[in-house]
């Protein structure tokens, strides 16, 4: 799943995928802004057929948080 998330992130941000780990912070390490975050959520919703409400999205701090949410939903 980490690889898929990295692939989707590759559409939004110019970052070496090898540097992305579950501990990477979405904003400070990866550099996502608010538009990137909502676009990521939209792509993940389509990919995994899940719903990520804005209230949940604002809680995501790291890639690990994103993956945990997908797994639990």
């Amino acid at each position: 799943m980490l690889e898929k998330v990295k692939e989707i992130l590759g559409e939004f941000i110019d970052i070496d995928p090898d540097t992305i780990t579950p501990e990477s912070n979405l904003r400070t390490d990866i550099g996502l802004n608010s538009l990137d975050c909502v676009s990521l959520a939209e792509e993940l919703e389509n990919e995994y057929n899940i719903e990520i409400p804005n209230s949940e999205l604002s809680k995501f701090k790291t890639i690990g948080d994103v993956i945990s949410y997908i797994k639990s939903n």
């Binding site: 939004f12 941000i13 110019d14 538009l35 939209e42």
Partner: protein
């Protein structure tokens, strides 16, 4: 009373309905289907909504409007403006405690909202007894009922006959002040409509029947006067993006020629074009632009925050003309707008209805579309105007002989992120009040993110056996972040060993924001 003669919203709608009739004005996606509403339908639905408001209230009332951009939202907005009541728009993301305070402050008697605010509306119903009506326009049956019950052929038809007093307050727009106190800017119909009646310098930008996609939140005056009122006046077709999440998908569906943006959106979409080219080196710049924006994109108009002029050149490579304007809610919005031939580092050329001067390098504006004043704040209102009636913008800059406007800095401390969101550092700092471990705090912007610098109370920490001060302050910040809206999210914390440098009056000397 002023002697201005700008049209009312009703007069604009009526004129365009007569001229453009069944041509599409608004376009949006609902349940996977593209829906189109003509100028005729928008006019007719607006009048129905206006009749409902006048029937329910029969007097001037302040009506909160809270939701995401959608057809029902826009009809509600136009309907309230046509009824003579005042529309008070808010973001659906606002928290319940803050909105309750603002409802009280703005004397709100009715709340029109959509499903994005429905849960909070339920809580507010109990907490705000002075609000007489909560109307969820997302419930399609309820909305259809309003359109039917208050239609042209109904017994209420004459309720929409009388037009509004164009000098009276038509909207109250809340802005973040430098002190952290939110102020309600009262604007008349003459301000809202008058501000978009300037003569465009670029005749190629807003052409009749052009397709524009509306992506910015409608509770911002830049969006609602631009994407709705100005596009109505110019006869454009407006495609509603709805949720920011769907911007990528909707650009491909609607293929707009023009889009109003804030710098953050321009920066993000430029990055995506660059990435696309990096991954597909055989594709041209134009193909990358079409991949991200659709095949028809020509203009991006930026406002809400300062745009780095380097982006203008970058966009030009992709065949897209990125231009910027400048304004302020208190001025009725626009002060300068894009023009060909202006310096890319300027914020455009001053519109014909505005006069601009500089006093001690501060930009000051005289315009017939200036606000009536701040709601219930006569002293604050007096402070923002000079004795001879010029509006003090709080921005530093200069004007050239050919009316190009340049901004060089900010008088005030307000942080304006590249998303256009205004963040008062004092408002965030206040949240740490009462945290005994924190003696001093200063919030500022760094690389377009919010940073907080702390001087801990080392004595308190020692007396209470707190050894890991950094972690303790980190936990406090995390707790505040979890409740904060995204623009107030503190991304970086710095712990100081020595107190901040102070001014003569004992105030912390502020660090310069680096956006």
């Amino acid at each position: 009373m002023s002697n201005l003669n700008f049209p009312s919203v009703k007069e604009l709608l009526s004129a365009q309905s007569e001229r453009l009739g069944n041509k599409t004005f608004l376009k949006y996606i609902r349940n996977g289907e593209i829906c189109e509403k003509s100028f005729n339908t928008v006019y007719s639905d607006t009048l129905s909504f206006c009749r409902m408001i006048r029937h329910k209230f029969g007097k001037k009332t302040n009506i909160a409007l809270i939701g995401q951009t959608g057809y029902e939202y826009i009809i509600s907005l136009l309907g309230i403006l046509t009824s003579g009541c005042s529309v008070v728009p808010f973001s659906p993301e606002i928290n319940v405690a803050e909105i309750k305070e603002l409802f009280d402050d703005a004397d709100i008697e009715a709340v029109v909202f959509d499903s994005n605010f429905a849960k909070k509306a339920e809580i507010l119903k109990a907490a705000c007894p002075s609000v007489k009506l909560f109307l969820n326009v997302s419930r399609s049956d309820d909305f259809k009922d309003i359109m039917r019950i208050y239609s042209e052929s109904s017994k209420y038809s004459s309720l929409s006959d009388q037009d509004v007093d164009k000098d009276e307050c038509a909207a109250i727009i809340y802005t973040s002040g430098t002190t952290g106190i939110r102020k309600g800017v009262m604007l008349s119909t003459n301000s809202l409509v008058g501000n978009i009646m300037y003569k465009d310098f670029c005749t190629d930008i807003f052409r009749e029947n052009d397709v524009i996609m509306s992506v910015l939140p409608m509770y911002h005056i830049y969006c609602f006067t631009g994407d709705i009122i100005k596009n109505l006046k110019d006869g454009l077709q407006v495609c509603l993006n709805g949720s920011m999440r769907e911007i990528t998908k909707n650009l491909k569906i609607f293929k707009p020629r023009i889009m109003r943006v804030v710098p953050m959106i321009a920066e993000t979409l430029l990055r995506r074009m660059k990435l696309y080219r990096a991954k597909h080196p055989d594709f041209s710049y134009e193909e990358a632009a079409h991949h991200v924006f659709g095949e028809n994109i020509k203009y991006l108009i930026s406002g809400g925050a300062y745009l780095n002029s380097a982006l203008v050149d970058e966009y030009a490579k992709y065949g897209i003309l990125l231009r910027q304007g400048y304004g302020m809610t208190e001025a009725g919005c626009r002060i300068s707008v894009p023009d060909e031939g202006v310096d890319p580092s300027s914020v455009g050329r001053i519109i014909d209805i505005c006069e601009v001067r500089t006093q001690d390098d501060e930009i000051q504006v005289k315009t017939p579309t200036r606000m009536i004043g701040y709601y219930n704040m006569p002293e604050e209102t007096e402070k923002i105007f000079t004795p001879d009636g010029w509006l003090k913008t709080g921005d530093l800059g200069y004007v050239t002989e050919d009316r190009q406007l340049f901004i060089t800095g900010r008088v005030k401390n307000l942080i304006i992120l590249s998303s256009g969101e205004n963040v008062s550092p004092e408002a965030i700092e206040k949240k740490f009040a009462g945290c005994e471990i924190i003696k001093e705090v200063m919030v500022y912007a760094e690389n377009n993110m919010i940073a907080a610098e702390f001087y801990p109370d080392y004595e308190y920490a020692q007396n209470h056996g707190i050894q890991d001060i950094n972690s303790r302050i980190g936990e406090i910040t995390d707790a505040l972040n979890s409740k904060a809206k995204s623009s107030h999210f503190i991304s970086k914390i710095i712990i100081r060993q020595i107190p901040f440098e102070k001014t003569g009056s004992g105030k912390i000397k502020r660090k310069e924001n680096t956006i």
